[in-house]
């Protein structure tokens, strides 16, 4: 067993419980046209047109014409909200049996199946491990990695999504396999003897083509890029990566010929009164979703986890987008503590042990968006290096970048960084290391490599 490098669990308060809450269907849907990876720029229906559930609203021309599918029937408006497709006058969802076209391709035809995945929007859930982009649906991957865990606080838990339909999950895996020739499918698994793990193992008996890979329950070792690298894949190889919901989407597309209209997301973080999982329709207005569920104070709604997500409000997102894994709600910092740095700190958890909480057992901390200190020069404490799961030295890259030594930055392998954000989290000097790494990669791309081409 290889030794695990780095990693750290930040233990944020507001861990979503395993229950999946049903919620009131919304009055209208606000489908963001801009998501982390996609831009659904080409509108396919007219303003004011009436659409059925499953109709294509728009396509992303840069991503293999990936469709934005109407999750419910309704009237389309492009102009009501900028960057959103608004669906009003919603039809109540039809029963599952009656749902839209069923023409599941029978056997054999890999290319047709793959096209169907794109046409029904299920392909949107697949990601290439190294580039993080949408892989070519007709390309040949070196392998497929399916993860059952999401360790960042907080995204929808893989086991919750999966247990909802274990049968569909297994079927989805079979469909995936039928798309491949000999390439292996790796199933990432927590290395614990939980009931869940046992159950899945039972189900997978006899599926020899699925390789189980145990992953430590330590953030960010569930990261697909990290796993692909550990499994021995190179940068120039394509590795499809899928979460449980992606596998279920594949199942829906290839078994029932249906597109997915909703998803289980998490609603967690210290700003939530009762952290849970929710089944939400894509486009569910964020405001309706969070109304009554948040604490009184001013809160930041983060699309994704606290370490890696983005501020949904600042990004202008009004509804749940198709890539959303979960919403993390963190209260904004409004407090100025008197002599805060001298507090004993039984309630604050630190990577260092310099708070009394070190004497306490594990607990979840109620954090805010506070920087919790002032910006200072690097004091070379090397915490960032210790937590880094990839083995790069963020402090070194920070200093080299500061000195404008881009070639050396590149030699320091900033490209290995997979944006887990732990370096910036632990830094006592409050240096924006995650941003530095971004900037370093961007500048290497634009300045160094652009210069080479000329």
């Amino acid at each position: 067993m290889k030794k695990v490098r780095g990693g750290y669990d930040i233990r944020l308060a507001g861990r979503p419980s395993r229950t999946i809450q049903q919620i009131v269907p919304p009055q209208r849907l606000l489908l963001p046209r801009r998501t982390r990876r996609f831009l659904f720029g080409q509108a396919c229906v007219e303003e004011g047109a009436r659409v059925k559930a499953g109709d294509v609203l728009a396509r992303d021309g840069k991503n293999f014409d990936l469709p934005l599918v109407a999750p419910m029937g309704g009237t389309v408006s492009w102009t009501a909200q900028a960057d959103h497709a608004v669906l009003g006058e919603l039809e109540p969802p039809a029963c599952e049996e009656q749902a839209t076209p069923v023409h599941a391709p029978s056997g054999g035809e890999t290319a047709a199946k793959r096209r169907q995945l794109v046409d029904l929007g299920a392909w949107a859930f697949v990601e290439d491990a190294y580039s993080g982009k949408l892989p070519d649906p007709q390309g040949t991957p070196a392998a497929v990695i399916v993860s059952t865990l999401r360790l960042e606080p907080y995204q929808a838990r893989g086991d919750v999504q999966m247990m909802e339909s274990l049968l569909g999950f297994i079927r989805g895996l079979e469909h995936l396999q039928s798309l491949l020739e000999y390439q292996p499918i790796y199933l990432l698994f927590p290395n614990v003897r939980s009931e869940f793990a046992q159950q899945v193992r039972q189900q997978l008996r006899g599926h020899a083509w699925i390789k189980l890979v145990e992953v430590p329950l330590l953030y960010p070792h569930d990261n697909m890029l990290l796993c692909a690298r550990r499994l021995g894949f190179r940068r120039d190889q394509i590795v499809w990566t899928l979460g449980p919901d992606a596998v279920l989407a594949v199942d829906a597309a290839l078994t029932h010929g249906r597109s997915v209209s909703s998803r289980v997301i998490s609603l967690g973080g210290p700003g939530v009164k009762v952290p849970v999982h929710l089944r939400v329709t894509f486009g569910h207005p964020l405001e309706e979703l969070t109304a009554g569920r948040l604490e009184e104070s001013e809160c930041r709604v983060i699309n994704g986890g606290a370490l890696n997500g983005y501020d949904a409000t600042a990004a202008g997102q009004l509804g749940v987008d198709i890539e959303c894994q979960g919403l993390t709600i963190v209260p904004e910092n409004v407090e100025r503590e008197l002599l805060g740095w001298t507090r004993p700190g039984l309630d604050r958890r630190s990577y260092s042990n310099s708070y009394l909480s070190a004497l306490r057992g594990s607990f979840d901390e109620r954090m805010t968006t506070a920087m919790r200190g002032e910006r200072r020069p690097c004091i070379s404490c090397s915490f960032c290096e210790e937590v880094c799961p990839t083995g790069v030295m963020p402090h070194l890259i920070h200093k080299l970048l500061y000195a404008d030594r881009l070639e050396d930055v590149e030699r320091s392998r900033v490209d290995l960084c997979m944006d887990c954000g732990l370096c910036a989290f632990v830094c006592p000097s409050k240096i924006e290391l995650r941003e530095d790494m971004h900037e370093a990669r961007r500048r290497i791309e634009t300045e160094l490599h652009a210069a080479e081409e000329h």
Binding site: P184, P216, N353
Partner: protein
């Protein structure tokens, strides 16, 4: 009026066109000292660890406190005056530089200000304390660009300067008072007036080797009732504070362990080779500034190497040099020079280890699966074995 109200009321003097705008760094330092800043994260990660540099530095101060209190107990109220002078002068220079540079005031001087008197003889005139700390902070730190950019430990630079400029005063030590209440309420005179030159355990050891007197007993070294620098005498309290520092992770155990380990090994070898000339390793570990240096000086992250492997080498280098200087040269104590020597070598050591790391990283992506076979069948699968075996058994 609440404290927050006070700052809100007077804030405008220090910002923009305010009358006291040049003093903004000082104002901000005081404000943020009293009240935690209101700043919020602007980008991911949206939450941050509670540790900041203030807390980080205050851990060192807490670790040093037991030894500082012991210094007060054994050597009297002058110790407090020395600390006060050191803080006042060191702080003033830090503030002056921050104002000129228009940068924020760094908390590093909080540690230097306390560490510096700890390594001075308790009889040193206060003006020498002031001069030493000024030299240390100016030349040892500010010249290099302030905290985080300095090559040398400022406190050691200050001491080195004084040791060369005023050798007599820097070699005048005071005998501690053992019986309760020690010198808690006494003011022991300065070196120049009293001229008390008591041998420290280490200088006594040189005399013993030359053929006279008795070695200081280990129990005295443990408790600290021996003459020596203010904060270096009580081994037990230094170990308590030092272990605290290591447990908080503010001090890195690698440096301390390798420094003490290498020192002890070399001392053992010397002792075994010629017990008449060289005193045993345990005695040497507890005597003089070894523990203070190993726990509080060498662990300074800024002046030591960053890399983990580098820290092992760095500690060992200091430990070996200290043992060599103590035993084979005319100097009685070698920790200060050893650590300064280590400071010089730290960037070089780092360079070696960083290169090694970069070479390892350069190979990272190229762990190619063996040709012709689909990946995943070559046994370099991470954590795969156990799960698959179990699945097969079921």
């Amino acid at each position: 009026m609440s404290i927050r109200g006070f700052f809100e009321k007077h804030s405008h003097h220090f910002h923009g066109q305010g009358r006291l705008a040049p003093l903004k760094p000082l104002y901000e330092a005081v404000e943020n000292f009293m009240l935690s800043p209101l700043s919020r994260t602007k980008s991911a990660p949206h939450v941050r660890d509670p540790l900041d540099v203030k807390r980080y530095m205050s851990m060192v101060i807490i670790g040093l406190l037991p030894a500082a209190l012991a210094g007060w107990y054994f050597f009297g109220l002058r110790v407090l005056a020395m600390i006060a002078v050191s803080y006042a002068i060191g702080g003033a220079i830090e503030v002056a530089f921050a104002v000129v540079r228009k940068e924020e005031i760094n908390e590093g001087f909080l540690v230097t200000g306390l560490l510096f008197p700890m390594i001075l003889p308790p009889t040193l005139p206060l003006w020498m304390v002031a001069l030493g700390v000024a030299f240390g902070v100016l030349v040892g730190k500010e010249l290099f660009g302030g905290t985080g950019r300095n090559l040398f430990n400022p406190a050691l630079i200050g001491r080195c300067f004084l040791a060369i400029a005023y050798p007599t005063a820097m070699a005048s030590y005071l005998d501690p008072v053992k019986a309760w209440p020690g010198r808690l309420f006494q003011w022991a005179g300065s070196a120049l007036s009293d001229a008390t030159t008591n041998p420290t355990p280490l200088s006594q050891a040189k005399r013993v080797i030359a053929g006279g007197g008795e070695l200081t007993p280990i129990s005295d070294l443990l408790w600290g009732s021996v003459s020596g620098s203010v904060g270096e005498t009580s081994a037990i309290l230094l170990i308590v504070g030092g272990v605290f520092l290591l447990l908080t992770r503010v001090g890195n155990y690698r440096t301390t362990v390798s420094m003490l380990g290498a020192f002890a090994i070399l001392e053992s070898i010397l002792h075994l080779a010629d017990p008449g000339r060289f005193v045993g390793p345990l005695w040497h570990l507890l005597a003089g500034g070894m523990l203070l240096g190993a726990f509080f000086m060498a662990t300074d992250p800024v002046t030591g190497p960053v890399t983990g492997g580098g820290k092992w080498v760095y500690g060992a280098l200091i430990g070996v040099s200290a043992a060599l200087i103590r035993n084979l040269t005319g100097y009685v104590e070698g920790v200060m020079f050893a650590i300064l020597l280590g400071n010089i070598f730290a960037p070089v050591i780092d360079e070696v280890f960083i290169r090694r790391r970069l070479a390892a990283l350069a190979r990272q992506d190229v762990i190619a699966p063996e040709r012709g076979q689909p990946p995943g069948q070559q046994g370099n699968v991470w954590f795969e074995g156990k799960a698959n075996e179990e699945a097969a058994q079921q």
